[in-house]
Symmetry: C2
Subunit: 675 residues, 2 copies
Amino acid sequence: MDLAYISIIVGSVAILIVFLLIYLVMKEDEGTDRMKEIAGFIREGAKAFLKREFTTIGVFIVILAIVLWLLLQWRVALSFVIGSISSLVAAYIGMSIAVRANVRTANKARTNSHKAVVVAFRGGAVTGISIVGLSLLGIGVLFIVFGNDPTVLVGYGFGASLSALFAQIGGGIYTKAADVGADLVGKVENKIPEDDPRNPAAIADQVGDNVGDCAGRGADLFESFSDNIIATMILGLVFIPVYGYNALIFPLLIEAVGIIGSVIGVFFVRATKGKTSTNVYMSFMVAGLISLAGFFAISFWLMKDIRLFYTLGLGLVLTLVVSMLVNYYTITGGRVTKEIAKSSQSGSALNIIIGLAYGLESPVIPLIVVAGVSVASFFIMGGGMLGVFGVAASTMGVLASTGIIMSSDTFGPIADNAEGIATMSGINEEVGSALEELDGVGNVTKAITKGYAMSTCILTSIVILFAFLTQAAELKGIDASNLSNLVVNIANPIGIAAIFIGATMPFLFSALIIKAVGRASFKMADEVRRQFKEDPGILKGETKADYSRCVGISTTNALKEMIVPTLIGIFTPIIMGFLVGVWYLAAYLVAVKVVSGILAMFMFNAGGAWDNAKKYIELGNFGGKGTDTHDAAIIGDTVGDPLKDTAGPSLHILIKLQNILSITLLPLFIKFAFF
Amino acid sequence: MDLAYISIIVGSVAILIVFLLIYLVMKEDEGTDRMKEIAGFIREGAKAFLKREFTTIGVFIVILAIVLWLLLQWRVALSFVIGSISSLVAAYIGMSIAVRANVRTANKARTNSHKAVVVAFRGGAVTGISIVGLSLLGIGVLFIVFGNDPTVLVGYGFGASLSALFAQIGGGIYTKAADVGADLVGKVENKIPEDDPRNPAAIADQVGDNVGDCAGRGADLFESFSDNIIATMILGLVFIPVYGYNALIFPLLIEAVGIIGSVIGVFFVRATKGKTSTNVYMSFMVAGLISLAGFFAISFWLMKDIRLFYTLGLGLVLTLVVSMLVNYYTITGGRVTKEIAKSSQSGSALNIIIGLAYGLESPVIPLIVVAGVSVASFFIMGGGMLGVFGVAASTMGVLASTGIIMSSDTFGPIADNAEGIATMSGINEEVGSALEELDGVGNVTKAITKGYAMSTCILTSIVILFAFLTQAAELKGIDASNLSNLVVNIANPIGIAAIFIGATMPFLFSALIIKAVGRASFKMADEVRRQFKEDPGILKGETKADYSRCVGISTTNALKEMIVPTLIGIFTPIIMGFLVGVWYLAAYLVAVKVVSGILAMFMFNAGGAWDNAKKYIELGNFGGKGTDTHDAAIIGDTVGDPLKDTAGPSLHILIKLQNILSITLLPLFIKFAFF
């Protein structure tokens, strides 16, 4: 049998598992009428947003598909359409269940805290498993249908990237406009608590958790997962003389193993006695061990090269180290958040200064570790082009856990939503300590999933770069199997200029996104203030706030503001490609990925540290809630919001998008570029 | 006559002019006893700090001189000592006069506002002219003494860079610890105005203006000026076949012309009727035109290559564009500061978010313009290695105006100090509108000098890089006159790793510096709070604040905290050089310079925008002083302080230091590196 069919089988089984998980979540009860009502608002808001967002994205998909068809070939265009749609479908399935799991989790928390965790985790697993399942299935089918030619799959990767960028920017602006707007007027000006039903922006804030954190991150990982498989398959073309046909299907099999591990892992989160967070750890362990066993089998028996196993394992080490560092910089009550909390005693300025400083410092060690792991993988495989394949293998080792990691990541917004619904429907007292259980699990998973997203993003971007370089060489008739034939020389003014321009891109991109959030949240704050002013009954809890207007503001602005950054993300590499040619385009791409990677990590960690410094104060330290110190910390948290939840994640996608797009358009660059 | 002697003659004349300027400043009257007393405090504080700072730096100079002597040769070691000492002497002269010109400016302002501007500008010119004069004199003498071998001059450049880094980090931490500490407790907590004599940190704040802004920036430009001449002379070695001996002395002559222009320009700032800011513009124009005429003469008659004149002129265009953009992002009442001020209405969080966004956006066009100018200069000279010489020439075109620009830059802190002294000695009413005249001129010069510092820093760093590459080639026996022989290939995991590590350095470096400021200002705030609490008479103006303790805190902390970042700045390129060899070290250096350049620009402009958004509100917009909007804007301004005045400027120096150090140690890297 053609081993490529395994990807189709595993992908299909994963989809079936998703249906099972959906059934398991949906059979739970939704709780009181008030809970149903609140959950209904959130569901409607999310659905309405996604519908309008997908329509906008759809227009772009159609236009670009036609362009790709005319300029390249129909197979690339078809892959592109399937890639974009798969990404959107995965996001849609995940979110549809997330907005149903939230209220069920809240209801379960009234009776059994352990079971509440399980409901939330399974809700998250719908996203996690459908992402990896759909991705592997789509790629596997296209690979076989198109006669084992991975180069036409770049369209699939580009489609996934494009959908991801739109989803992340749109969702990210939505969620933070709502969050910041709600906080500015609610928490800061009127001192009402988070998720208070009197706040007109409260529902928009809840919707945001779903469309931003959940759908956005899902699209990000769908992209990483797909792009990485495709890039490694393209790289694999160079290694057919070494590994035969296996060089091409190696990534499919590795990720199939990863999916099997993830699916089994998900079911290890059960409502047993003891701490549920231990259960979550267990599920990671199980998934990891199954993957490792699979890696060994594939490396040893199929590829007959045990060195691949070492590099695959090295990827897991990297994830661990980065997660530990994220932990160091952001965990509540750690050294860093304590110092930020302490400096809040001297006001918000010092809170922000210290947070910025730690944020700036935080990418240093992770990036050096990434560099170290790459170089180590390179040398384990004996250097040269095979060394580059080692780097790709270590990346696949990391990505194999996408399913289980994404499950626990989506757990976060579901649990947050459950808390919000509990607060808004007045059952807070009832659930009490159960929410702490959810929070505990959330804290465990947060650092891990963030560290994970960072590592995969940077590693994937390196792999795609080499796929780009080997393809460029092939198309130019250069023998790509010799690494020293690939030359990106930056020792001249044009090379330096390409690096300069690439390095500015992430700054421009984040600036536009942060400004968009700023503008939208300014409007949101105005609306909340207007409602409070025009109807003083709202703040007294006597009349109902008008949630739908706030939902409308987030929706409209997110859709309006997501277009320009996306277009800039698409057109810059195209302009560069035609202007400076493929080799200097590579220099540009290196600059984009390095600077984006650092900037994103800075934003994630600074934002996380401010958030948890505030939480640390809320635990009663340095005076606790309601003090000036707490107010100062809230400012820092708010500043961090658009950084960590909008600009940072969008940068992750930008890197991959620009690179995979460059591969897609390679034939055109080579034909028409100046150099 | 050997034309190199012209540099010695012009340098010596410049020093004589400095004495004349000192005489002109010192003959003015110091004013009332209270003014003398305040000025005395500032002078003593500054002197005490510089003394201790220079002692610390001296220790490092001695150690490093011995190391250079043992590992390389005595001539490099001697150049190093002379370079470091020249830089310190220039800074010392400039600062000694700045702390005397301040009170004389304040006193003059009581009678004649135009004349006050002249006193401040001439005080600034002492710094400006002594920097360029000493630099050219030192380089000229060493060049002749060492038998026309520019390669041993790298020691001079390294010495200048080392002193600059210490002076900038130390001075920068000093000034911002005082400023932030004073603001946090004075302005924010107790609502007393800026420069209020009741604030115990007020004197430390004034001292800081001198040791940070004045001595620090002076050392920065001394470094740029020297490094650029030396690097271009080293590059010139390659062009002896083309231009003969003139290739080596070309940079000396260009800068000699620049100094002549600057000296004449300085005396165009006179107390005439009409706006004095027009006078300042005039002086720039005169200096620029004299330089241009000189450029033409040198290109046409001496070098016999008119293309050099075009590239020299292109440098001036670049400065103009960058200055205009700095203006756009930071000028009070411009589009950007207005929007930041407006967003302050929704609190400090939004003020900071919008400021961050504009700051992140601000480096984009300048960097693209820098890239464009480099590429244009490259092609004007016909590409190839001669094209690289064109890039160097365009940089020299920019640096020729260092004298006049630095004069107007030092004008800033002198004018600030004059305002401070006026406020603290109670003659504020008396001087009234004269201070506005000073402010007006300050606003004109600020954007220009900042844009200037940014352009020169990035351009110089490109020139030093190519000096490094040609030297590396020479030492490896590769023909450096053919550009395609220089290959820095980043298309492999080691090249990528070098780029990754280089890109993280500026983040680490700024993080350490910002944290240092944060820590020191936290202590400062504590001390101010303590004094207010223990002696309530201080706030009522009944008892005197203890200024000396605050001065002590700034001094001690600045000296303590400047060591680690400097050592990191020195050791990272050394480690990289031995670990990855000279070509990948070049990749590392490219990443350092690009990322530092962007990060510094972000910090300068964000800080400037916050500062001027606050000033815009203080002019009465959005409610003016004392409103919540104003308070929110003060937070933003305070956050920006360590960015724009400590971390940003230090990054400028870091870039050049690492590069010139790498050239200095090239022989060792080539002998002992792994690759």
